[in-house]
């Protein structure tokens, strides 16, 4: 990626939630090497997906003890889904932990798919 700056590559990758290999790998290397440019906050969302309300929003208050989503939280029918952001900007959740997706919304939808109607339990589990 010789023609654009590293910062532009990062921003483009995050904003477009790019999964294409070339840009994704470049962004990974850049973001891992440089902690001074935090990844941008994901887009807020609020929708009904397969009959369940999924919400994603910047976290209010002082944040949660188990907060690893960079200040962003996702709820399914009002219950918080434990979410984590990977170094390359992809996301995983507690119900789909080994399969990164591009955005928090995609993680929320993957969780609804996985749950097949079951209620999410508040974490930490038990």
């Amino acid at each position: 990626m010789p023609d654009i700056s590293r910062r532009r590559a990062l921003t483009a990758a995050a904003a477009l939630a790019v999964t294409a290999t070339a840009v994704g790998v470049a962004a990974t290397a850049a973001s891992a090497a440089d902690h001074t440019h935090p990844m941008p906050m994901p887009e807020t969302f609020d929708e009904v997906y397969k009959g369940r309300r999924i919400q994603g929003r910047p976290m209010g208050g002082g944040g949660h003890h188990h907060e690893h989503g960079g200040g962003f939280e996702v709820l399914i029918d009002g219950v918080q889904l434990h979410l984590m952001r990977n170094a390359d900007g992809t996301w995983i959740s507690i119900v789909s932990h080994y399969d990164p997706v591009a955005t928090p919304r995609a993680a929320a939808r993957a969780a609804v798919d996985e749950l097949q109607g079951a209620p999410l339990l508040p974490f930490p589990a038990n």
């Binding site: 891992a32 690893h68 119900v95 399969d99 097949q116 589990a125 038990n126």
Partner: protein, 273 residues
Amino acid sequence: MTVRKNQAALTTDEKKRFVDAVLALKRSGRYDDFVRTHNEFIMSDTDTGERTGHRSPSFLPWHRRFLLDFEQALQSVDSSVALPYWDWSSDRTVRASLWAPDFLGGTGRSTDGRVMDGPFAAAAGNWPMNVRVDGRTFLRRSLGTAVRELPTRAEVESVLSMSTYDMAPYNSASDGFRNNLEGWRGVNLHNRVHVWVGGQMATGVSPNDPVFWLHHAYVDKLWAEWQRRHPDAGYVPTGGTPDVVDLDETMKPWDDVRPADLLDHTKFYTFDS
């Protein structure tokens, strides 16, 4: 001395003893402590913070010690039992004997993913999901649904050929053997197998499925194979790395064992081949 065997080579009696010991740990409550510990680490290991059990160089020694604890618990029930391993690059279909009713049981039914046969099926009454992230209390699987193919031997070989154990930034963005084996980048070995099994195996409470131990016993064996192939390459980093377990630093939750103590598996067990 404990010998860990390929699950495909176990006798009927060995399978029965393994299953009975696992069920005994479940009855006593000890099994669920393992599930809880794993979930706690998976929720707290982060790429930008402290990381010990996953997405870090200590992924391999951490799971080696975790499996040793579990194997010792099994042996406290039946001293003849050893952890078998599942070579998913060879036994790669739902028809493998691993998934037969006399061992782990098969895939889940299509409606709700519920495993319907084998000793861990909910209907048998011996395998309640106590440590869980959602309301469902039965073991689930969906073999080969979320991802179609298990890794091939050629893909395994491509990762074993990597001569560097791990690389900065020592997380899910790293190049090198550890992260390619763990699967956050590259052809994806370990993570993909969790996804292929589906059900609880795809979640933070993955040890709820007994196949967790057989999967990780094979990941552990691949580490041993990598060491044989690269005798001059060692665990890194070797000191002074924030948030990362260096070679001679102790690991949580034990706090009395270092990666350096776990590099040589032959102190604890050998493999059948």
